[in-house]
Amino acid sequence: MKTICFYFQIHQPFRLKRYRFFDIGNDHYYYDDFSNEEIIRRIAEKCYIPANRTILDMIKSSGGKFKVAFSISGTAIEQMEIYAPEVIDSFKELAATGNVEFLAETYSHSLASLADKEEFKDQIRMHKEKIHSLFGVTPKVFRNTELIYSDTISEWVYKAGFKGMITEGAKHVLGWKSPNYLYTSKVQPLLKLLLKNDRFSEDISDRFNNYAWNEYPLTADKFISWIAETPPEQQIINLFMNYEVLGSYHPAESGIFDFFKALPRFAAEKEIGFILPSEAFNLLKPVDSISVPYPMSWVDEERDCSAWLGNLLQQEAFTKLKEIVERVRLCEDRRIRQDWNYLQSSDHFYYMSTKHMGGGVFSPYDNPYEAFNNYMNVLSDFILRVEAQYPTSIENEELNSLLTTIKNQGLEIESLKKELDKFKKNETVTEVKKGKK
């Protein structure tokens, strides 16, 4: 039986406010609360709430046959908690049906997978904890920021305790191979991979509302029949897209909600089922391994990481961020940890992209240069705060050993104290004994 695997990405960054040179050292709050609230409220109203309702209806009316997977970034969850708590409630309702799976990712939708293994693992752990605390489930399948994947990352993901990961089925990687099978990583054969079916995913995410498309209008009937026409041995069709496709990229008037609602019925007619990523990893057998020496993603025609790290500005900003990772790891200040997370969101780098000058990129800034200047000013202030805790005059290794020494000394003092207490007790006991004599 053929199955469809639906996965939706949900992410919102904490956008930065206009942060000037004079704010450096004076102002340690970096976020544009007004626009963050405005954007999350707007998207919740247009997309998250009606889309969740639609999916809940679909699960119920299909008799539990319809299934979807979500990955919600930690920063998105936090903003929902603050500005749109009703969205969290509706996700809880979805989670209760058991037909919804939550995937693990880096907490702030970061680019840590391209930089630092420890940081990467740390952010995954944070995200797992957040998901567990809200929905009571621990994610078993991993999904990296914007489906970024490479051989190195597959190794890291496996070491972080995952058996399955979902990623992009880029043409330059797959070649003649079909994404409609289960694969494994070349370097880590125990990590199984689900690859996005570009054509079918983009039929919905990009072309659904395109009047110029020769297949317009796309109906559920037609779409399912295309899937049914794929060779019978191809078992799984992976439809991965941004959740905002429902209601935000394609407005409700385009009929996107009705399109989704009709999917389970036509799928049932053609005997096509729905499957969750974790089920697919258990049920299906991998047919081959794929090798990806250079990172790929699901963004742009190139399907690489050039949208975030393509130009000089982005590389500079990312390098400066990487340079302080070890320092920040030593910090225990909660506000520093929090800002550290928020500043890592890949979106900040995306705004600096010069690939689509003059349009295409959604950005709160007028141009990439402004995005860069603003981010660097904020980062400069952040670095100052980290340095205030641990001055740069001490090398990392030295600092680390000093910190361990302090910690060890603390432990030693404690154990010695215990010993001392023991002797004191003994002494009193012997004194008492002596007294008796």
């Binding site: 000037r20 040179f21 050292g25 240069y369 660097m376 400069s380 202030d381 100052l384």
Partner: protein, 420 residues
């Protein structure tokens, strides 16, 4: 002695150094008891200081007869011009300009800035000058910068009075040598017609003599000066939030100002010192290029851009600075280092700037010599004695550069051309 001056900018609405210089000079000249100045600008806003001169707006001067009643004119022009003045100018319309686009008062609209159709605006300005020159009585014409030369020539031809032109900049400075032929033609024409040419520095004087082929005896240098700081500027506090030293570049980020040498020098300083930040304040067509350059030198966490600064913001930046750098490739005068020194900020200026001729207590380097520039920056931020010395002596020096003296020099030139 009555002077009719043509200018393009006047504070508080200024776009560059021209407005500041026009204000300072006229103020300095007004200290002479028998001096009477009428200052024409394209578009007054009504909030200009008119206590020491009379401002006439070209955009309020009729060139086409319109039958409008007193109260209507009063309403429309408000503070900018009195109805009497309007009627006086209206009586001097000299030709039929109704084919040009004019408004309900018979006036041409001006942007008062540097728009894309600048040449057309310059031409309109000289049409208006014809009306004003007929209506006003004056002894001498004084035109500030090339934009107003055609107006000055027009006024001279009508009145037969001598014309002095004031060269604040030439196109050779703005373009690093690749002059715009149209601009050059206007500049050359203005200089040829002038009875005397005032330049703001010897550097500019040489350009005028060599590139515009003027008779040296006709060209005199009158260096610019600075207005003393007002009390509310003196009281601005250092607002910086960082403990680091701050090195500032302030001005338009364009080819003329040599911003790339500042970035390169910053990279060199940051190799040796880590207690310093660099600020590039201002905007311009090379800004994005500079952002990239700083990023490629890996100094973006210590090199900051502020965007366009105006009015008080300029002084806020200066007050928070330890060093001011002006690496201009070719600067006719350059008033901003003087302002920095007034604020007690040690300055490093390029030898290719006019103000280098009159400043002794500023560090002078060739604009291209980034190593010398880096060396000077490093010295000032590292050795307190050098910082203190330049701060105190520089302030003393610049406090003695007064517009009053510059005004007296201009007056001597007026006397000279009138006695010819």
């Amino acid at each position: 002695m009555k002077a009719l001056m043509f200018g393009w900018e006047f504070p508080p609405h200024i776009l560059g150094g021209l407005g500041t210089a026009s204000y300072g000079l006229t103020r300095g000249m007004a200290l002479q008891p028998d001096m009477d100045i009428t200052f024409v600008i394209p578009k007054p806003w009504g909030d200009e200081d008119q206590s020491f001169l009379k401002i006439v707006g070209a955009c309020n001067t009729p060139i086409v007869w319109r039958d409008v009643d007193y109260n209507y004119v009063k309403n429309r022009l408000g503070e900018k011009m009195s109805p009497e003045e309007y009627y006086k100018l209206r009586d001097n319309i000299y030709a039929d300009f109704s084919y040009r686009g004019v408004n309900d008062l018979g006036c041409i609209e001006f942007s008062g800035r540097y728009p894309d159709n600048l040449l057309e605006e310059i031409n309109n300005y000289s049409i208006v000058a014809g009306v004003i020159a007929r209506a006003e009585s004056f002894d001498v014409i004084h035109a500030h910068d090339w934009l107003t030369y055609p107006a000055g020539i027009h006024a001279k031809q009508i009145s037969g009075k001598p014309m002095v032109i004031h060269v604040h900049a030439t196109d050779y400075d703005r373009s690093r040598g690749n002059v715009n032929p149209e601009v050059y033609a206007i500049e050359k024409n203005g200089m040829d017609f002038a009875d005397h040419i005032i330049t703001v520095s010897n550097l500019t004087r040489n350009t005028v003599i060599e590139k515009y082929h003027q008779d040296p005896s006709k060209v005199t240098t009158v260096h610019n000066a600075v207005e003393p700081l007002s009390q509310d500027i003196v009281s601005i506090q250092d607002k910086r939030g960082v403990k680091d030293k701050v090195v500032t570049f302030l001005g338009r980020i364009t080819m003329q100002k040599g911003p790339e040498y500042f970035v390169e020098a910053a990279a060199k300083v940051l190799e040796k010192a880590d207690n310093v930040r660099f600020v590039m304040a201002g905007s311009g067509d090379m800004m994005n290029q500079m952002v990239r350059l700083a990023a490629s030198r890996n100094i973006s966490d210590r090199f900051h851009f502020t965007g366009f600064m105006k009015g008080k913001q300029v002084y806020e930046v200066l007050k928070s600075s330890d060093v001011y750098v002006m690496p201009s490739v070719s600067e006719p005068f350059g008033i901003s280092p003087l302002e920095a020194m007034q604020c007690g900020v040690p300055s490093i200026i390029s030898k290719q700037s006019g103000c280098a001729e009159i400043l002794d207590y500023a560090v002078k380097v060739d604009y291209w010599d980034i190593e010398a520039m880096a060396d000077a920056i490093y010295g000032i931020i590292t050795y307190p004695a050098m910082y203190q010395f330049l701060k105190e002596e520089g302030k003393k020096e610049v406090d003695n550069i007064k517009w009053e003296y510059a005004g007296q020099k201009v007056r001597r030139i007026y006397d000279q051309v009138m006695n010819k």
